[in-house]
Symmetry: C2
Subunit: 345 residues, 2 copies
Amino acid sequence: MKKGHQVTMKEIAKKLGFSVSTISRALKDSPELHPDTKKKIVDMAKEMNYQPNLLAQSLRISRTNTLGVIVPEITSHFFASCISGIQDYANKRGYNVMICQSNETLDLEIANIRTLVSSQVDGLLISLSRETNQYDHLFDIYNREIPFLLFDRVNEDIPVSRVTFNDEGGAYQVTKYLLETGCKRVMYVSGPEDLYISKKRKEGYIHALNEFGIELDSDLVKISDLTTEGNINIAKEIANMKTRPDGVFCMIDPVAIDILTFWKSIGIKVPEDMALAGFTNNPTSAVVEPPLTTVAQPGYEMGKLAVSHLLDQLEGIASDDPISIVLETTLVPRQSTKALSKNEK
Amino acid sequence: MKKGHQVTMKEIAKKLGFSVSTISRALKDSPELHPDTKKKIVDMAKEMNYQPNLLAQSLRISRTNTLGVIVPEITSHFFASCISGIQDYANKRGYNVMICQSNETLDLEIANIRTLVSSQVDGLLISLSRETNQYDHLFDIYNREIPFLLFDRVNEDIPVSRVTFNDEGGAYQVTKYLLETGCKRVMYVSGPEDLYISKKRKEGYIHALNEFGIELDSDLVKISDLTTEGNINIAKEIANMKTRPDGVFCMIDPVAIDILTFWKSIGIKVPEDMALAGFTNNPTSAVVEPPLTTVAQPGYEMGKLAVSHLLDQLEGIASDDPISIVLETTLVPRQSTKALSKNEK
DNA sequence: GTCCACATGAAGAAAGGTCATCAGGTTACG
DNA sequence: CGTAACCTGATGACCTTTCTTCATGTGGAC
């Protein structure tokens, strides 16, 4: 199967007896053309189903009007929502989006960046993989003046704009909520320690403990690799502890949901035996039993804001100086944690 | 912010005193070059961080090694899984993937096709939006000999290959299971009637009824527009029926989960009052309460098979004749339906 | 020793499709 | 008759690939 030949301007020119440059001018609605000429050409282009070859056009004008997006995993509802926001808004501003996923590996992240840069994308939006612990590849594209921006999973050493949630504030809120609803031993289940969001959410956890005059207990911080297997191992470890926590805050909802599912299967009652909370507010979190207390981070809005800012920079509307955009999070109390009693509201 | 200039072959040629064609030959490891010359060029290209300009390359060879993918909604776990399969396998065979979503609208489906064709993708993989009820745009690209293939949501009139699940077989299985587990009035909650999967799953539902000698009752077929609002309206209608069904089979899991959530909020017990089943086997279906009986359709495998077949056609490995690839589905019994009694197994 | 043929390694030109710029031809008006 | 405006054509550029041509050196035959 050979890809069919597409109509070129040269063919229209031949058919109508004009030059290629006249065809080009007519199709871009240039005022330098006689209206009759223009109409003839536009009609013929339509009749012949002409579509501009974007490769040739982009090569000539050194611009593709295409942005590259790299997310860790496309099957994550949060990242799919980010992509949706990016794509909807980019399309509104005349841009296309090329989406890649790193499958949470540094190698694929690097390869994807190379491919997208070679494809001459006008800019990149990158959320780092959980494996990313060195940043040469990002400094490399920074030095080559490839426009890019980091979102959600970022690194603060790269001098580019970034869009994040108030990770510390959200974690502070949910940990505080656990403490206010009676928990005395609150655990934090983290992701990989190098990951920005792991660090920031831990800071919020610690901040809330401090405010309640509680010392950080290293037995109450566990690290999951964020795989389902890893999450279930954590669930087992917690269940097997001599002195269990009475509240568990998980860095992201999928971790909390894996833990919840396992605990239910071995008879642990949530929130009676142990309260459980997450961070993300995936749709799944509302439909599990009991519905999961979590912190809402709207991916679609993040995507829109990120692409809006990158395009503003690309088009000279915003300054090139790196800025940090921080979106607020919202506590979403549900039944996986105990209710605030009336005099505590 | 201006996109930085990338190194060209011309610059390497100037630096080393060779012609551009020699640079090109060296970088593609041509045997026509002296090894010393080749090494000099390869080293310099690496030192200057040269990356080929894929626009220029693609324009010259009339091939982009890029496939376009159009799905109805990227936030659907099923379609995200398809994309993951497509992308992983395409990358293995040296292809990139450009992903677009139609947001379940025909207009965006048409626009996305135009953009991808203009971008000179080597082929398209399309899953139709729920709004798609006319097919001129598909016949148009067929007539222009743009290679494409349909997956999951297909149309049988377009003479191209398609990859689907055994929708009828899966629906037959789950309806039969509902009947075998004691249901006497099984309802089918469909999506839009023009949609291929709506029709096929209805056929399986009817087939199972016939096998049990049950007449089709038009009061037991409802149509949802597949939005959350639409699904909840269906849940209300069912709850308000004078004579309720005792088993409900929903065309896709998200419909079943919305119905389940609503019913729980008004005190309907599943499966005691009404049994409930879906089709998809989203991860969410395993973690709701009670876990949802469903039919598994593995998106990742579908994606892999679809792209494998399209690439075989593109590369002349497979014939251009349209074929229909049908993947088997698997019944996944869970607690939203009653258990088969022992002598019925 | 000279001439011819062949092999090796490289340069130059053209092609892909489009855009932007400069030049040229024609017409109308002062 | 000269100038300006209108409309169009021709050309080169973008970057890479591929094919033809060219230059040089070596070996063999006379």
